[in-house]
Symmetry: C2
């Protein structure tokens, strides 16, 4: 799997739960990463719980490589990022994931190949200081400071997703949205308008058959959502329907 | 909790597993969001599994509001984004999370308050077409097309994290990184250098006590990581240590 490797290695140091190794592998594969390295997993290796929880990412787990120390796991790397949930008493830059990913891309580009790794510590304690000394920089996922706890697979996902996004094209905001109109209708006004319209269409025999009706109503809803009417415009529509039917709408 | 509300409401339509509601609440609170709305949860409400799995985010679960239909849940919203894992046969723009978040910020800014919602469908099937008709746009998390499956809490986390980041300051890459040097040393060369250095320091009685040694060694490792030596420079260091000790290093 390493022949086709692009992007950073993900290194789990002394992971405790096999389930978390499997979940981390899934998060990696979600983001197109396959180079999983394990340093002294608590329950040995291979691990049944890791395989069971890997789902479609079983190949990532099966191809994981095993090391005695973090130093061995990063021996071929030239840029190593440690993950941390808290500020540490060490002189290392602490990056956000987006910046860490830019640094990885830069380091890999200079080397002409993938030479980076992202290191995650044990679930309960995080990386020990001894592990941190092997890292060039640290990365923290900035979250609500009053509730910042993440499980290891979520941390892998949030960080590796930044890598995936940074290496894929990002489409622009479509013009279709009418977001700048201050009088944009509340959804309840759209609902009321559509109820009025479909009632009027029912009464007037617009729908050919009962079977075709649901699809046609869906299309109406979609059309009206897409219009992004103003509140004033919904009133105009009510007025139009009333005028066309020649009578008030009583519900 | 809604008095202090900033940011989009998160709406779960017909969620199946209580555990997933709890996990989604945690992901929301990770990203500073608290307005959870539920449309017809399968197992009724309140739900013990949701509370048990909410951990520190129990308040988000306890304050969740309950609705019979998505239309009711979005009645006060002016911009509604539906999440989808696949392309749909409907005429709606499909945004990536970063763009969706920019659209939310724009819609909220124009309204002068939070008027947006992000809607997630049932775990197994996703949003039904009838739900999609109530959405202005769709959002898809772009992932490895060969392995794009996410659970609902992960989807909530990836999307709401983009909101959290977009509303918080992003620090720049520190200057400290020497990423542009093509000859940057591989980690194994740093390990070898530090082994040489600490051996030499041990022999020369540099460490005052055995207790102080580990901390001092950590500091050395950190200093050397921070230097980001080139391969050539590691050789220079080896030469310096050898010269200072007056003898070869035999390991």
């Amino acid at each position: 799997m390493n022949q086709t490797k692009t992007g950073p290695a993900i290194i789990l140091v002394r992971p405790q739960m096999g389930e978390n190794i499997g979940a981390a592998a899934r998060a990696m594969l979600n983001c197109g990463l396959t180079d999983l390295r394990l340093v002294e997993p608590r329950d040995g290796w291979p691990n049944e719980a890791a395989q069971a929880n890997a789902s479609g990412a079983l190949e990532v787990v099966s191809n994981a490589t095993l090391y005695k120390t973090l130093a061995e796991a990063v021996a071929d790397c030239r840029f190593v990022i440690g993950t941390t949930a808290r500020a540490r008493d060490m002189v290392k830059p602490v990056l956000v994931p987006e910046t860490a990913v830019q640094a990885i891309l830069q380091a890999d580009q200079v080397a002409g190949k993938s030479v980076s790794a992202i290191v995650f510590g044990p679930e309960r304690t995080g990386l020990e200081n001894d592990d941190v000394t092997r890292c060039d920089v640290l990365v923290t996922v900035p979250l609500n400071p009053e509730y910042a706890s993440l499980n290891i697979a979520q941390a892998v996902l949030l960080i590796t997703y930044q890598w995936y996004r940074a290496t894929h094209v990002r489409p622009d905001l479509p013009d279709i949205l009418n977001l700048n109109d201050v009088d944009i209708a509340a959804k309840k006004d759209i609902e009321t308008l559509l109820a009025h319209l479909t009632d009027a269409l029912d009464e007037s025999g617009f729908f050919p058959t009962e079977q075709q009706r649901p699809n046609m109503v869906h299309n109406l809803y979609n059309m009206f959502q897409r219009m992004r009417l103003t509140t004033q415009e919904t009133q105009t529509f009510h007025g139009m329907i009333k005028a066309l039917r020649g009578k008030e709408w009583k519900k």
